[in-house]
Assembly symmetry: C2
Homo-oligomer: 146 residues x 2
DNA sequence: TTTTAAATAATAATAATTCTTATTTAGGAA
DNA sequence: TTCCTAAATAAGAATTATTATTATTTAAAA
């Protein structure tokens, strides 16, 4: 997504296309690592030295409310953000603190169908998320899903 | 689990059975709500007015390290603790901030088998967790799984 | 009973997040 | 294009969450 497309994306949600919002969203789309607020800040700072950390916090929460970004949390507590809104799950590597997308339509469908069949009374299901936790064997190398 | 059983449980893990640890663990076993540190503190305080908040933090982390309690997190960020170590999943109600256990051996097996079949290279899976997010329809009433 | 390593209480320090307010700015109106 | 205004930002203060420090207490082993 280029700058103009991002601008249109924001406009569609009724959000002013400020420079700060453009760079934060571009950063999130680029880094697919599910970065923390601090990580977005550090990434953006060199090219935008006057941007404020508070603005990053505010901007990311604005995006969450507008539904163009989602929060992802791990057992380690730090809050992370994800611009990938397609229905997907996460692999969390405890030794490297990485979060990696795990996309598997078939699995999603299986679980979704199973839970819908099950019927949970007095509750409306909005989202089902699978978290696969474990550790990278060689922290230098990438995880690859076969 | 009564006080003596909890005492034995701690001893088995090589942890001193201090009064503070006994009441914190008993509290977690009793409240199955996946309470936060603050909630454990408030629950315990009336009967133990000299207990320190720092001790609750320390104690819960000690339990996590010893493997007798696990952390549970939600997208809202607050850290919660769970003494239920059986393989189970969670229903998270966003409007009431409640976490409820969802126990379904069959579903667990299906997902586990699927992921094991899939093979994730350079990664050792330790745990698979499903989080069902949504909202209570009537916040006063309980969620019931059929 | 005595000893001692480990745990706790109290409090200080640090880290994470939110709030406040003066200033700036995007985008619509003129 | 220029003007206007509501909304957004920067800077810093305040709040909240968590961790660290240290003197005192205590569980449990000798
Ligand atoms: Mn539970
Ligand atoms: Mn936090
Ligand atoms: Zn993701
Ligand atoms: Zn649970």
């Amino acid at each position: 997504m280029d700058f103009e497309a991002i601008k249109a994306h924001l406009a569609k949600k009724g959000l002013k296309a400020t420079h700060q919002r453009l760079v934060v969203l571009q950063c999130l789309l680029m880094l697919k690592n599910h970065p923390s607020v601090e990580q977005v800040y550090e990434k953006i700072r060199p090219g935008n030295p006057t941007i404020s950390l508070g603005t990053i916090y505010k901007t990311l929460e604005t995006f969450v409310e507008a539904g163009i970004v989602q929060r992802v949390s791990t057992k380690e507590g730090a809050m992370k953000y994800d611009a990938n809104l397609s229905r997907h799950d996460h692999i969390y590597s405890t030794n490297t603190q990485e979060i990696i997308d795990f996309e598997d339509e078939e699995l999603s469908k299986i679980v979704e169908n199973y839970i819908n069949k099950k019927r949970i009374g007095n509750f409306k299901v909005n989202d089902i998320r699978i978290q696969i936790e474990g550790e990278k064997i060689n922290p230098e190398k990438d995880i690859d899903i076969i």
